[in-house]
């Protein structure tokens, strides 16, 4: 473990990524106690104030939006939805995808083929429209968004885990376990699962980045988390109407998404290089 941390920290970009991720997680966890203003308090007299570096007076570091709400406070509190959705959706995706992948890789006959066909069906449906349509049908809420994103992004896990299981299945320790009469669920969870974990960790870290973008896209289109909760995507959608005279309202939340996603990608890239260089071939 110490050796791993040492090798991780030898890349300065990866350390930058880790710092960004830690700041975002910290903001998500403690945001409401850190912010200088209530993120939902409107102040019409203070509407569309530019950020402080534009040389204006005032107390709003990153300016205010069209309702006079403090953008800095909304960014900090908005981290919560992004991180919560990103991580929870990835947990769901990984459970579904790894289960499918283990079964499809070990039982290559019918179950395997059916599960692989499911992945092709999933890939044939444009993800964004599927997510939007389901959100419209079941109604947008935090948990629905997590479920939708989680249940539509398991394909990569299934493919990678299956490919690894097809190889592992032929190895002596698995064959021996099988001959000793150990049950299939036991082989899958005790013998195969630990051996695919490094791939799962790498895919997960990169998928969190994608999920953050997906969540913000759904929010931007008005089918994400209900508007009372500040989210980065909703903030961009609201700021879009003022792009001509108050560019910061839409720009700043985008920078927050971009930096968070980039930080997560940097961490994921480093984990991939250290844990599983072969995975470079399987991203989609």
């Amino acid at each position: 473990m110490r050796d791993f941390l040492k090798r991780y920290s030898s890349s300065s970009l990866a350390m930058v990524g880790l710092a960004i991720v830690l700041v975002a997680v910290f903001a998500a966890a403690f945001g409401p106690w850190l912010v200088p203003f209530d993120p939902n308090t409107q102040d019409i007299l203070q509407r569309l104030k530019p950020p402080l570096w534009r040389g204006t007076d005032g107390m709003h570091l990153l300016g205010t939006d069209a309702l006079g709400r403090d953008i800095f406070s909304r960014i900090i509190v908005g981290a919560r939805v992004s991180i919560l959705v990103g991580v929870s959706a990835v947990v769901i995706s990984s459970i579904v995808g790894v289960t499918f992948g283990l079964i499809a890789g070990y039982e290559d006959k019918y179950a395997g083929r059916v599960l692989m066909m499911l992945t092709d069906i999933q890939l044939a449906i444009p993800f964004m429209v599927l997510a939007l349509a389901v959100a419209a049908v079941v109604g947008p809420s935090l948990w629905n968004i997590i479920a939708i994103l989680g249940l539509t992004n398991w394909v990569q896990y299934a493919r990678v885990v299956r490919a690894e299981c097809l190889v592992l299945r032929e190895r002596e320790f698995v064959q021996a376990a099988h001959m000793m009469g150990i049950s299939t669920p036991h082989i899958l969870t005790r013998h195969l699962l630990p051996n695919v974990m490094s791939s799962v960790i790498v895919i997960s870290s990169l998928l969190v980045a994608k999920m953050i973008i997906f969540e913000s896209s759904l929010s931007f289109l008005g089918l994400g988390v209900p508007p009372a909760t500040p989210t980065w995507g909703t903030m961009i959608a609201e700021g879009r109407n003022y792009i001509g005279n108050a560019w910061w309202v839409a720009t700043i939340p985008g920078v927050a998404i971009f930096v968070t996603v980039m930080g997560t990608n940097l961490v994921g890239d480093r984990l991939r290089d250290l844990l599983d260089p072969r995975l470079r071939q399987v991203e989609s």
């Binding site: 066909m117 499911l118 092709d120 069906i121 890939l123 044939a124 449906i125 444009p126 993800f127 964004m128 429209v129 599927l130 939007l132 349509a133 389901v134 419209a136 049908v137 079941v138 109604g139 980045a209 973008i213 913000s216 896209s217 931007f220 289109l221 008005g222 089918l223 995507g233 961009i236 879009r240 792009i243 001509g244 560019w247 839409a250 720009t251 939340p253 985008g254 998404i257 971009f258 996603v261 980039m262 990608n265 940097l266 890239d269 470079r280 071939q281 991203e283 989609s284």
Partner: protein, 306 residues
């Protein structure tokens, strides 16, 4: 080869059948589909009438086979909003999306292929590191935000390009850039690492030993072999491009199928959504089928037998 072709075709058909089941149940996950099509304030009698009109009161299996039978003839029912056949509305918008998608794909190939080749050939150089950084950045932009930033820059500030619509080539530039960004990043990255792997292989070393020119090694030995994994990803990227077109078209008010789908979802016009999903799925499955078949052209080993 014929066996291979037939088995791939049958598989593609089975996948599309699966898509039809998914699309059928899509409007039924919330329970009664009638409530979905009608506004929330619709009176009970009207919902009841609508349910009988649409046949939602029949057994589920009967409804599905009816849906499938019509879908096979391209009939997805009427759009409740536009009072026109749903599939006709989608098909009318297809050329716009294909134009945008093809422009974006071309753009990303023109940038990513030379960049990846250069980066792999000069591994560790400034251009290699720049290509890695660029693909990291390209993967981290939310498309809708990039679109707004381009509008802010090129339409609001410099007034060089129109912010929306379709018809002129100027209106195609910004949507195509937004759509191409992610694919360019992914393809550059993947082709680079495949090229690096191939350039370290025995046959490349042999070719070098025989004194084959480096440019020939890269372009004919390495690129051809690195193309196979890349092609798979390009196939998958077509799906991603069509999906990404949804958001891009919405921000630029570009009249393609993606914008139609978003409007249809907002208007509860679910027959149009169903027609859209099935058509896109057919397109994606066809493209992946072509990608599968083209492996044979790139790799002679796959051509013989199964």
């Amino acid at each position: 080869m014929a066996d291979f072709l037939i088995s791939r075709l049958l598989y593609a058909a089975a996948v599309l059948l699966g898509v039809s089941v998914a699309v059928f149940f899509l409007i039924r996950i919330g329970g009664d589909p009638s409530a979905l099509f009608l506004p929330p304030e619709a009176p009970v009698e009207e919902i009841e009438r609508f349910r009988r009109l649409m046949g939602f009161d029949r057994p589920l299996a009967v409804q599905y086979f009816d849906f499938l039978g019509r879908a096979l003839q391209g009939d997805f029912g009427m759009s409740l909003r536009y009072d026109q056949p749903a599939m006709k509305l989608v098909l009318e918008r297809v050329p716009a999306t294909l134009q945008l998608g093809a422009t974006a794909l071309l753009m990303s190939l023109v940038i990513s292929i030379p960049l990846a080749i250069l980066a792999a050939a000069k591994r560790g150089s400034a251009i290699d590191r720049a290509s890695l950084l660029a693909s990291l950045l390209g993967q981290s932009f939310p498309a809708f935000w990039l679109a707004i930033m381009l509008i802010l820059l090129f339409s609001e500030t410099f007034r060089l390009l129109p912010p929306s619509g379709r018809g002129t080539w100027q209106q195609l530039i910004m949507p195509a850039i937004v759509l191409a960004t992610y694919s360019t990043a992914i393809i550059t990255r993947l082709l680079r690492s495949s090229m690096i792997e191939v350039l370290q292989s025995d046959y490349v070393r042999t070719a070098r030993g025989k004194g084959v020119k480096e440019s020939r090694i890269i372009l004919s030995h390495a690129l051809r072999n690195a193309a196979i994994p890349t092609l798979t990803v390009i196939g998958l990227q077509v799906g991603a491009l069509l999906g990404g077109a949804v958001i891009t078209e919405e921000v630029f008010a570009y009249p393609g199928v993606g914008r139609l789908a978003i409007q249809a979802i907002a208007n509860r016009d679910f027959t149009v959504v169903q027609a859209f999903v099935v058509l896109m799925a057919a397109l994606i499955v066809t493209i992946n089928l072509l990608v599968d078949l083209s492996y044979g052209l790139l790799d002679p080993r796959l051509r013989k037998g199964k």
